[in-house]
Subunit: 382 residues, 2 copies
């Protein structure tokens, strides 16, 4: 049973209403920079007086068009990103002054070369490790991006501008984390489907104040609801942690189904969630070093080695009282797919059931996934 608030905004609805707000922002001379990944230091974009927006990447629709240029055996998120650009069907891509990509994975790295033929696509070169050499390189990349923003917009970005943006983003991270930590409450008062959808659509709201206001209100509402209706009751639903690839494009056939089958999705080790929110930018360090350090520590599987992620997940299993872990792998995502070998071992070593689902954006495997999720929940004794 899926429990959603009366005013729940679905992803398509949020995308649409965000589009109107973004148009107003743009019509008033506002600047917009399009991004695809949580490794991009959006503080710099904010410091340049622009709005960073996460671009469309979670729909099956433009994939056929993308496959005219890209191989079909490729991550659906990458194909969708490119397909939206190619078919000019992502309003946020259309509104973006330029795009900033990153060399996180092979597929995106090479896709951005083609995207650059559609719209100016600046690529940040992300290293794969976290030692001093990598940190030095990444800090240099951050300085280069700073310069790119200054040159592109013809503005000067001061240290103070960036410091202010860091405080704004850190505050947003804290708030998002407070929202996500509603999942720690037991019994769970909020649907994981709602949590994920909200976080994926947050950047469609150009005003940071509006964004934080919505989150604050919903957090307070859920907390009040918990006090009145959940506190002290015994939970009889299995509590699931979601890990792996970005799940926005497959949320309906995984997270929604789990909740319809009677589970509570309570925790996320995902790009839009704890993975990026947990570590703040250190305000005591020089700004470029602080940004470099924070973003390099995001425990995405593109990093190698990425042992942090194992500790992160096992900590979350404890903190969120998790009964089972579902790892979502998008088709042909080599880094998460290979890393899942060690994730599975670590989760099982904690005595927690683990299921890996590899899927794409088509509906073809929805029935099969449903059956597997059903069987998975049966193995979880609560």
């Amino acid at each position: 049973m899926l429990r959603l608030p009366k005013n729940f905004e679905s992803f398509p609805e949020a995308r649409k209403s965000g589009f109107m707000k973004m148009k107003v922002h743009k019509d008033n001379g506002g600047k917009i920079v399009g991004t695809y990944c949580s490794f991009i230091p959006t503080e710099l974009i904010i410091a340049a007086g622009a709005v960073p927006v996460t671009l469309c990447a979670t729909s099956e629709e433009p994939i056929n068009a993308a496959e005219e240029h890209l191989p079909s055996n490729l991550c659906p998120l990458i194909k969708a990103s490119y397909g939206f650009a190619l078919t000019d069907t992502c309003p946020y891509f259309y509104f973006s002054d330029f795009i900033v990509g990153e060399t996180t994975c092979d597929g995106k790295k090479k896709m951005f070369e083609l995207m650059n033929g559609i719209k100016d696509t600046y690529v940040m070169q992300l290293p794969s490790s976290r030692d001093e050499i990598a940190l030095t390189m990444w800090e240099a990349e951050i300085k280069k991006f700073w310069k790119k923003l200054e040159d592109f917009y013809g503005v000067t970005i001061t240290q103070e501008d960036v410091k202010k943006a860091i405080l704004i983003k850190n505050a947003e991270r804290d708030l998002v984390l407070e929202y996500l930590e509603l999942g720690k409450l037991n019994p769970s008062p909020i649907s994981g489907y709602e949590l994920g959808t909200k976080l994926d659509t947050l950047s469609f709201i150009p005003s940071m104040e509006e964004r934080c206001k919505q989150l604050r209100e919903r957090i307070d509402e859920v907390k009040a609801d918990w006090e009145s209706n959940y506190k002290g009751k015994i939970n009889r639903k299995p509590r699931i942690l979601i890990t792996g690839c970005p799940n926005g494009g497959v949320r309906d056939k995984t997270i929604k189904v789990l909740e319809e089958l009677g589970a509570d999705v309570v925790a996320f080790d995902a790009c839009n969630s704890n993975r990026e929110k947990i570590e703040k930018v250190d305000t005591t360090l020089p700004v470029t070093k602080a940004l470099a350090k924070k973003y390099l520590n995001i425990n995405c599987s593109v990093m190698s080695p990425n042992t942090n992620r194992i500790k992160f997940i096992t900590d979350m299993i404890y903190d969120y009282q998790v009964d089972g872990v579902l790892e979502i792998i998008l088709q042909a995502c080599h880094t998460f797919s290979i890393e899942s070998y060690n994730i599975k071992k670590a989760v099982l070593a904690k005595g927690v059931p683990y299921l890996k689902v590899e899927t794409d954006y088509s509906k073809a495997d929805a029935g099969q996934i449903n059956t597997r999720l059903e069987a998975f929940l049966e193995t979880i004794a609560v």
Copy 2:
């Protein structure tokens, strides 16, 4: 019709005879470092008094075992590399004191994490671009690898040691290039199947002198043969350039078939061939900078952008008088697969037919590939 010399050594034969030589080397206290990729600056390994050897990665046999740990939708070269290690069936892996991997692609980067559980696997962090930031980072990685070799073997590697090794490797590159440039002769006096096989087995010969002696003899033999039997005759065979992924594991169902069907495979834009051999290490620069520059310029598709490769291929089409280009993509190799979109455009713009074959190490698609190659050759008017 495949024309091979009487004393042609097949890959399995060369692997076997190399094994005996390597055993003698090892029994006499010789050092061996295993590698998988032409981005590794083998000069440093030679300077440490060790022999760099290219490890087994081109057979289907160990792939089933590898898939116990790795996803099946992954490059066969990566699965084979890991499978040989896991099943302990690569004698060179067995003899290696340690392994040196690299973060060239997502699959290898993450596979090396697992390989490190089997044998000490040191990973060089390769950047994806070629600007000053990347060059600085890669030079730091080269210095770090230098230190790793010193620490591992308890030796001091001097600048002079490295300079000597650079001269040795540059001379070998020149010789290999002279061997490859036999393909420029028209009509072609040497089989591309022979060229590729020889280059893939070269590092199985521990003695550099022996290696160069064999190449020198064969070059002289082929040149003499050309003077007597080919010079001045009219070529009636289509001349093919091979590009794309390492082709050692699929040579029999692609290159061999092309030649059996009456084509001459005359040129290679491949890891074991011109791609790594064309640029020497600059002996006028400080050694670590010179090594960094040379290796960063290898035009593998993991680099982004990698426009050099287009010029490289179109130059080769002219220099080797190429009538058709076959691009070989190993299954799920995202970088070569995506880059092939631009390669195809560039080759066709030269008026040269282009065919892309995506395959793995199984024999299942051999018949289908045969049919496609036959059709491809029919389109090439000579």
